[in-house]
Symmetry: D3
Subunit: 249 residues, 6 copies
């Protein structure tokens, strides 16, 4: 069994999300999910990410102590991705990063359909860091805050379809990325509706793909490079009460 | 069971390679492997790739007819990758493409260790197509032709280690890609030796990673975009005797 | 006399095209043209290119044996360009490559007007390989298959004009490339009509330009670098019956 | 008087640094400096930055409440730069960002001389975000931890000179950036020594330049764009006890 | 006192422009302004720039002889910027360069609002030289020649507002650069009107920013690198009658 | 007959250079060459280029009046290229631009061998404008001023060979560009010596190639786009006494 843990970078329990991934158990994947005690109630800004990251780091160190084989950060902005890789040896997967690289392999360009317009600059910044800027066709928003998308009304799928069709026909997207991990479980439905609308193109469910990439790395003996992500130096820290990193140098 | 087929793009049977992947069976992966009747005896040039590609296409169409779920082209140059994606609907994976994108996620830069100096421009061209040029630290060669690396003498691992260490210390590579699918099964050994030499960095075995990415795509319901890879138009072809593509438009 | 040979990468005789180039004879250029016995009936996909390339290689080796001074591949996708350069020492010119670099010198951006929408990703891939992606204003199609453009009805010129004007006014193209070698002989007419419409901008006829670049290289003593395009290694090949490359290493 | 506040993103008081900037008072600049109660004792990793950022945000909001006109984050990694810009309206300056853009204007390429090798990937990431990657000649380290450079022994200047000379002669740097805000006050001495060594090139003291850019923006009526840095949405946050952002949307 | 001189690169006296900068005197900045005896009557083309540059060089050498501390070229095309840096040691500032780098720090993308459509390719070329091409959202023109904008009718501000709003809403600009130094003194008004229109984004007045960057460099002990801008070699020149450069090598 | 005129952008008569091009007469090319009355005695800096350009413009307008079919600026820095294109309708060719694009077609990377180290930043700037930066392997200098290379001692060829071999083996250049038009007539000799040294790679003689590209454009009915290079506006100019541009708008 490969134990993969999802870390939700905010204070709400999202563990029922695991249901949409339950079919992965037959790949010998064991999934667990944790959230934060301290931090924001959702991630919609750099500010939210900043508040979440210290405690995501704590969850990451804790997971490695628990014998977890790989981590997935449950947010498209990949908050804490680089910092987590400094403090643990096990693979840390950001669904934003894996979705963008996967999309870059599936077609010549991709569009994000995300929650709010205000998230656009954050996604562009991540794309710049990951080196895929020139593959982005567009970033579109359904204009619904994260905390409201939980209900997943039929309306939500309609909005996703509408923006996806504009992305394909107008922005020349060849691949769609669901740009919020709160859209989990909707990729299949959206892909079907796009097909019915004459556009049978791939739709990426970032968390699912991230979990499978985590499996890929573990079964290939791979983890992030310690040269890119060296362990932190041992020195005084005031506050937070985090467990010490196994990579302390 | 997910059935993944490896297509060796030359006339030599390499099916014993499957042994090094046999542990993946517990992921419900069923592997098969075919090679060509017509074509070169190994892939070391654009010329070789050109001769191989028409018959790789035949093997791809045949595989989809056989009910295979995904294809992996068994060569780092990904010969026929784009053309195959035009003629079949199932995912077609190029180990060159998946290795480069995986390396780009594992660290800030990577080096290829390949067989011959003469392959360098071909890898650079693929990197340009995939959009990862600026992540390449270097492309180094052990200077042994493909048909001679089969023996995998201890000498081969020494040469790989030697070039990898130069890549890390001199070219500033943070990740190593084994730049020939003939090196299969050596990643673990090389990684171990690098660790012993004080450089515990990730070493990518491209075929293994490609098979796991194939699994990732199948279990995520993903395949290449028909907008990037539209089916060929129906028109007269003289020669080759290929079966008709299921994507004929 | 400089002998330049056009290789049509499909099974249809297009030698009457030479008429539109007959005025170049006074530059001491001797033109010949061959086509394939095996292969597709036109080039409109990566699939078509793959089928054509092995026999384009045969034509290239044959031409060098015939004492030809330079080769031009008669297709905007430049099928077999890199592979041909590996097997012959004489210059091999791709009209796609020369048109794009010429356009990049004539103005800050250019548009392709090609036959079919489905060719767009192929042109984008070539631009990526040639390093001119950021100079492309747009790729537009008249939506007529290659085999139907032969007739060159007045309608065809109208469609070219229409798309060119959109390219200039809407996509901000400063130069037009006729994006299919089947459009040969139409550049002058289109340029005139653009001028009449108030947009006196350059229109590139890729085959004509390619032949003149071939002359440029021959009279400058230039051919492609053997470091970028080293000769193939001598080893068994099954099938095809190609003559051996003069560059066999 | 323009009031500019430096925020030291760790728990040590560095206010004596202000001495090296005291000559700026005659530009009607009033300087103040604060540090953190909670956080790391220096910034040398993504981990350190993550721990510092929440409390840097608090200091930023507090400064705007205090009537400060502009903020300078006192660290080359610019920790919290983007997040701070979301929560305040006054200009927030990162010395890393201003040093890199200034260097890009002073010459064709620049080198960083920083404290430790391990910081290299962090600087490369910032350069990628700022869009100046191709201007970096090299990133070199004197190999002394932040907490030890405070003493500023003659040895430190020698090490800086040594690495700077290699940067110029070997890496082709035309400009030097002192890559740690702990090197404050040494730019002039280093520039003089470089001149004596026959290399009279510009040496950037990032904090000094940052303060003057802050003045530039304030006196030009400029601050970061609210479209790039929209205010955070109002929603529950657990912990931290930060004052509410004036930009709450 | 820091003496900064503006060089107007044409034959019209624009010294009343200094009024809009008079508030900078309390920063101990002393401003002077000169124009040319020979050259064009405004700068609107590469042709105009070519005619201006030799005499801008003369003004630059003269200024250094006069004891001036820094130069600002009073034109967005930065005519003579690189050549001037070769002939003097004091900082030479181009408002085009400083505006673009400042905009790149203020937000993720910027638009130029300039005088005439015909200037677009010149600005794109400068952006290419400065390395900020990918930050340009658009270049828009109010379609009024330089010599007519002097009057600054309310109409002019309306046109600037109109194009700025299209830049923001349609081209996704997050920052506006006033793309002609003739627009001096209008940034504040335009910013106010944009705010009233619901788009409170930064508007850069390039000359004001350039003067403050000149101050920044002088007070940081910085000037352009002599490795990027080496002095000219001593050799015969026919005509022009320029004073000899202090950097003659 | 096609009449091509070379404009030497300095005050020395270089018309004996035409001898090395005399074999091109059999292509129906008629060559003439002019130089300047006013300007520098050679081009080795931005300063020299600035002094030359106004009078190059005069020569260009004059040439079009003379019925010349195309212009070649006789200098690798392409001084006045863009400005000339604004003032005449006939093709204006810069040997720097044509050499770089030709090299980009002949191989994956190229090196310049130029006269003096100080020219390096100028070539890098041109490469940036032309969009070929990433194809440059290196820029090397033989360290001999332009006015001294006229003698073409055997020593000069040795120095060129020496730097070329370092470029190939160390900098990984696949193509060599002779980086000064003063090296005319040496490409063939250098190519031969490189071949004898085991490196049979292409060596570009920029003026020869430029003349043949001029022929290519004229015989293809092509000239630079008036959208990129619009004619100058009609307005007062003081000094220079240039004839009016035929493109005055």
């Amino acid at each position: 069994m490969i134990h993969i843990r999802l870390i939700t970078p905010h204070i709400n329990d999202r563990s029922r999300k695991l249901q949409s991934l339950s079919d992965l158990r037959n790949l010998s994947i064991d999934l667990s999910m944790v959230h934060l005690d301290t931090g924001p109630s959702s991630i919609e800004s750099e500010f939210d990410e900043a508040l979440a990251t210290p405690y995501v780091l704590g969850r990451a160190i804790e997971a490695e102590q628990d014998g977890v084989h790989a981590l997935v950060i449950d947010c498209m902005g990949d908050p804490g991705l680089d910092a987590c890789r400094e403090v643990v040896n096990i693979p840390v997967i950001g669904p934003g990063e894996t979705a963008m690289h996967t999309a870059a392999m599936l077609g010549r360009s991709f569009s994000f359909i995300t929650v709010l317009e205000r998230i656009r600059p954050m996604i562009e910044k991540r794309a710049r860091i990951y080196g895929v800027t020139d593959r982005i066709a567009s970033i579109r928003a359904v204009d619904i805050p994260v905390l409201s998308i939980e209900e997943k009304s039929p309306d939500l799928v309609d909005r996703l379809l509408q923006e996806s069709l504009i992305a394909v026909t107008q922005d020349r997207a060849d691949v769609i990325i669901l740009g919020c991990t709160g859209f989990e479980g909707l990729a299949e439905t959206l892909a079907l509706k796009l097909k019915e609308a004459g556009q049978p193109i791939p739709v990426i469910d970032p968390v699912r793909t991230a979990v499978l990439i985590a499996l890929t790395w573990v079964r290939s003996g791979l983890s992030h490079s310690p040269l890119t992500y060296p362990g932190p130096r041992d020195k005084p820290i005031r506050g937070y009460g985090l467990p010490p990193s196994p990579k302390l140098g």
